[in-house]
């Protein structure tokens, strides 16, 4: 379902409303009315404001354009990645890989059995026809190779070992390690690299030692940027103080598609990918996985999980 983020009034209008509220008497009100800022009537789209970095003044899409330029990721690669996200999500749905997603019923009694953002017609050819959204006309980030802004909620129960014993819970998995990281807001999309790498280092793991990866798909260029950064000797030296980590095998990355197809309910996506990572591991009889996400404003988060051997 599309996201219904609020519309706001402009700063000019906010100031005028304050003046109006304070105006006492017909004269003051008339004067206030005369000063009504007509241009200020245009609403401010809350979502655009929320997805614009207040420090560097770039929208999230523009930060992804930065990564595309830096690592030479072209439009065709982005669109191919996006098409694959849809295809994997469709295949996952057919294989009942999304048992954790509950259908929704609205107040009119309409059932939404599945997410309607997953498209079976998102081929590279059709995606190639879309125009850039953030840096017109020369950019490469389009609505088709970006995550979908959607509403959504996710729920996980985080329990201590004591609670698991006391309530006889059957955990899906165990959090082995987690890490938050900060980086240049203009390249916030590389957050997963900065957050996951220290975990790999602490546990002496290589990228492909993990059975599965979930890297949240804010933008195709951003996920591909993360993979490129790990391959890039100079980037790893400069920012991570280590040599290149190598190539992450994409067969183990976002195996059931990601936010480009399934949507990115901001605030719930971290929980969603951790939950789905555990479900995907269990469905395949695998054990260890990493979930990582980029965060607007210049942060990244990552979590290393293991499935538990129980029903």
């Amino acid at each position: 379902m599309p996201c219904r983020a609020p519309l706001l009034v402009s700063d000019d209008m906010t100031r005028w409303l304050a003046r109006w509220a304070a105006a006492r008497g017909a004269g003051a009100r008339l004067a206030a009315l005369r000063a009504l800022p007509w241009r200020g009537l245009a609403p401010v789209i809350g979502l655009v404001k929320g997805l614009t970095d207040p420090v560097v003044g770039l929208s999230m899409g523009q930060t992804a354009e930065n990564l595309a330029t830096r690592f030479g990721i072209d439009r065709a690669a982005m669109d191919a990645y996006a098409a694959r996200s849809h295809a994997r999500a469709l295949a996952g749905r057919a294989a009942r890989a999304f048992s954790e997603i509950a259908p929704l019923i609205d107040a009119r009694g309409t059932l939404y059995p599945v997410d309607d953002g997953v498209r079976d017609d998102s081929t590279p050819e059709r995606l190639a026809r879309l125009r850039p959204v953030f840096d017109k006309p020369w950019g490469n980030i389009t609505a088709g190779n970006s995550s979908q802004v959607t509403d959504g909620a996710a729920l996980l129960v985080l329990a201590s070992e004591d609670a698991v014993r006391r309530w006889n819970l059957r955990p899906l998995g165990r959090i082995v390690d987690s890490q938050w990281a900060g980086l240049d807001p203009a390249q916030m999309g590389l957050g997963p690299v900065h957050a996951a790498t220290p975990i790999l280092q602490r546990h002496g793991l290589a990228l492909n030692d993990l059975d599965l990866w979930e890297i949240n798909e804010a933008f195709a260029a951003q996920v591909l940027g993360c993979l490129a950064a790990w391959e890039d000797e100079s980037y790893c030296r400069e920012h991570l103080g280590t040599g290149a980590l190598g190539t992450l095998d994409q067969a183990r990355l976002n195996v059931d598609g990601g936010a480009i197809a399934l949507g990115h309910p901001v605030g719930a996506s971290g929980a969603r990918i951790v939950l789905h990572l555990l479900q995907a591991l269990r469905a395949r009889g695998l054990r260890r996985g990493m979930a990582a996400i980029c965060i607007g404003g210049g942060q990244g988060g990552a979590m290393l999980v293991e499935t538990e051997a129980n029903p």
Binding site: I105, D106, A107, G109, T110, L111
Partner: protein
């Protein structure tokens, strides 16, 4: 705050004089859960006024010491004991003079109202200079006398129109409709609504505010004065006549007359007082009220019993879905199961509509929606206190479901079936814990029908029937304990009644004429419109089961053969459009038709009593009134049979018993 106790020895009232000069008078009727204005309470109030007259306070605040509310009205038991005109006159005089005295005291007075404030309670509040309503969900102000076939004779008919204007006042007095705190403030019935946290402080300040008392102003005010008053009265009389052309409920026109011609003072029209207060209608409506109280008493939980917190409903069709929605409306967490989410979705949509209508506050409506959880996997079974089965009426499917449910249920949970046509004993047969299964039979539409039959088969080992009754009470419905028998009570009495109506169609009478005979008799809906509403296929199945040997009426069989199943197919005995039957104007019903139609219902009700399906005739009357809407002013079918004189041959269809 400095207080001085007064050594008056009143049992029901506490008077507290505070250092700031205000007097706080609290009604806390001894030995009762709610406040009612009994003769003793009224006599003591007169004593309180005497005491205050000797030493007038700076202001008087009247409030209730009961958590449930302010005052529920006059004492119904005293009213029931009236037998002579003199007693009726004395009862009216008592309140009229006392409240006039309260209205005339030289110091300002204020009624601080929380919860129910009904009948005489509201008349007392109206006699105060000011009224404040505590803004909380239970606050409800009404003059419901008309529903008991009487009138607000203690000043309500005089003061309510003066305070809120004649049109709004007549609406309240003629319908008995309650006003919540928000509406009471909007009407001007109270000076303001006040949050509970500030109620005391607001009462103390407002009573000394010297503000003029509320009066209807502008158009609303003029409509209460000559000559516009005459127009308003005529219009009210016309509306009453349109709704009750047979004059079954004489209290409503009497209220308009007392207001318009006698200034709301019933004492100026002793003939009206006598005619209304000692009428059979009033007696019968009071009987219905007490039958309702009796059913409510079955719904009281046993001491120390925990209320139901979680209900699991299997079957999201019309009945199951609406039962689930109603449970969630009443604050219970509900899981609703069916084969897949698509079957549950329409029930969720209907529920959202119900909550929007019933709960004005959008937050409360959302909370109710949140309590109703679609549960296609049946995860709620293991946590529910009550599991209600409302699937298709097939014994084998039901039994298979029970066998799957019972091992997963909490050991002390109730398993209830909403079956209307299957034998409970047969359904119990072969279950591991047969005593866990009970019948809780709701009527369609669930949100409108007050009665629920609670069906017991065999010995009640674990008090299941009492617990089921308490659950029904928790839902705000009236439980009727019945024994397992085809059709229980309500459907059993309806079947021969509908059958007789269809025989009349076969005999050549127009459906509209037949229905008119019964609406004239006082039924909310005629038998053929009812059959259309229920569905002719369902009526046929019920008829087969309940009147086994007979051929079905030709008119019914023909319509079913043509696929005309009533309202749901758009055509049955009537053509249906937008949920309404299109009726041609009905001819005058032939004499004795209503009697002929009602007789099979009455006979069947008698038989159900004789067979022990219900415990006694009163319960049968209660069940038929609240389950079918059987004309309440008759006091119920068996009471009607016992009290009605034989219908005069030439008279109109079945006149109600009527004392001129």
């Amino acid at each position: 705050m400095n207080t001085a106790a007064m050594p008056h020895g009143w049992r029901h009232w506490q008077l507290e004089r505070r250092a700031d000069g205000l007097a706080w008078l609290t009604l806390d009727r001894a030995g009762a859960a709610v406040n009612a204005l009994s003769a003793e309470v009224m006599a003591e109030l007169a004593g309180v006024l005497d005491a205050l007259q000797a030493d007038p306070p700076a202001g008087l605040v009247i409030r209730s010491g009961k958590a449930a509310g302010f005052i529920a009205g006059a004492d119904v038991d005293e009213f029931a004991g009236l037998s002579t005109p003199q007693q009726a006159q004395a009862l009216v005089e008592r309140g009229w003079h006392l409240f006039n005295r309260l209205a005339a005291v030289p110091y300002p007075t204020l009624a601080l109202i929380h919860g129910h404030c009904l009948g005489g309670g509201l008349e007392l509040a109206l006699a105060c200079r000011y009224r404040l309503a505590v803004d909380q969900p239970g606050t409800s102000l009404a003059l419901p006398e008309v529903m008991l076939g009487i009138f607000p004779g203690w000043g309500g008919m005089r003061r309510l129109p003066a305070v809120i204007g004649a049109p709004a006042a007549l609406d309240m007095m003629l319908t008995g409709r309650p006003a919540d705190a928000r509406r009471a403030a909007a009407l001007g019935l109270v000076d303001a609504r006040v949050p509970a946290r500030l109620a005391q402080a607001a009462a103390g300040r407002h009573v000394r505010s010297r503000k003029p008392p509320r009066r209807a102003r502008g158009l609303a005010g003029w409509l209460g004065r000559w000559p516009l008053k005459l127009l308003v009265a005529r219009r009210a009389h016309r509306q009453i006549a349109a709704k009750d052309p047979q004059g079954h409920y004489p209290a409503a026109p009497a209220i308009v007359t007392l207001w318009a011609r006698h200034g709301g003072n019933a004492l100026r029209a002793p003939d009206v007082v006598q005619r209304i207060l000692t009428s059979d209608t009033a007696r019968n409506l009071l009987r219905v009220f007490r039958l309702q109280e009796r059913l409510k008493a079955y719904g009281k939980p046993a001491d120390g019993a925990r209320p139901v917190g979680h209900v699991h409903v299997v079957g999201a069709g019309t009945m199951g879905g609406d039962i689930a929605a109603w449970c969630a409306l009443k604050g219970i967490k509900v899981t609703l199961q069916d084969q897949d989410a698509a079957r549950i979705a329409p029930a969720i949509g209907r529920a959202a509509g119900l909550y929007a209508r019933k709960l004005k506050d959008p937050r409360a409506a959302r909370a109710a929606s949140d309590r109703l959880i679609p549960d296609p996997d049946g995860a709620g079974v293991a946590r529910a206190d009550v599991v209600i089965e409302a699937i298709t009426e097939q014994a084998q499917a039901k039994q298979a479901l029970y066998r799957a449910l019972q091992p997963r249920m909490k050991p002390d949970a109730l398993l209830a079936t909403n079956t209307s046509s299957l034998s409970l004993a047969a359904l119990r047969d072969g279950l591991a814990q047969p005593g866990q299964l009970i019948g809780i039979h709701f009527f369609n539409p669930v949100a409108k029908m007050p009665l629920v039959e609670v069906v017991q088969a065999g010995p009640d080992e674990h008090g299941a029937q009492a617990r089921a009754c308490a659950f029904v009470g928790q839902l705000g419905k009236l439980p009727l304990p019945v024994r397992d028998a085809p059709g229980f009570l309500v459907n059993a009495v309806l079947a021969p009644y509908l059958l007789e109506a269809m025989r009349c169609v076969d005999a050549g009478l127009a459906p509209a004429t037949i229905d008119r005979a019964m609406t004239d008799f006082g039924m909310p809906m005629g038998p053929l419109e009812l059959a259309d509403t229920v569905g002719l296929d369902i009526a046929m199945a019920a008829g087969r089961q309940l009147a086994a040997q007979d051929e079905p009426p030709r008119c019914l069989a023909d319509r079913i053969a043509r696929g005309e199943l009533g309202r749901k197919t758009g055509r049955g005995f009537y053509a249906w459009q937008d949920g309404k039957a299109r009726k041609n104007s009905a001819g005058a019903p032939p004499a004795g038709l209503a009697q002929r139609l009602a007789q099979p219902l009455i006979d069947r009700a008698r038989k159900q009593v004789d067979d022990g399906v219900v415990a006694d005739a009163d319960l049968a009357d209660a069940g038929v009134i609240f389950g079918t809407g059987f004309a309440p002013f008759t006091g119920g079918p068996l009471h009607y049979q016992a009290t009605a004189s034989p219908p005069p041959a030439a008279a109109r269809a079945a006149p109600a018993p009527h004392t001129p």
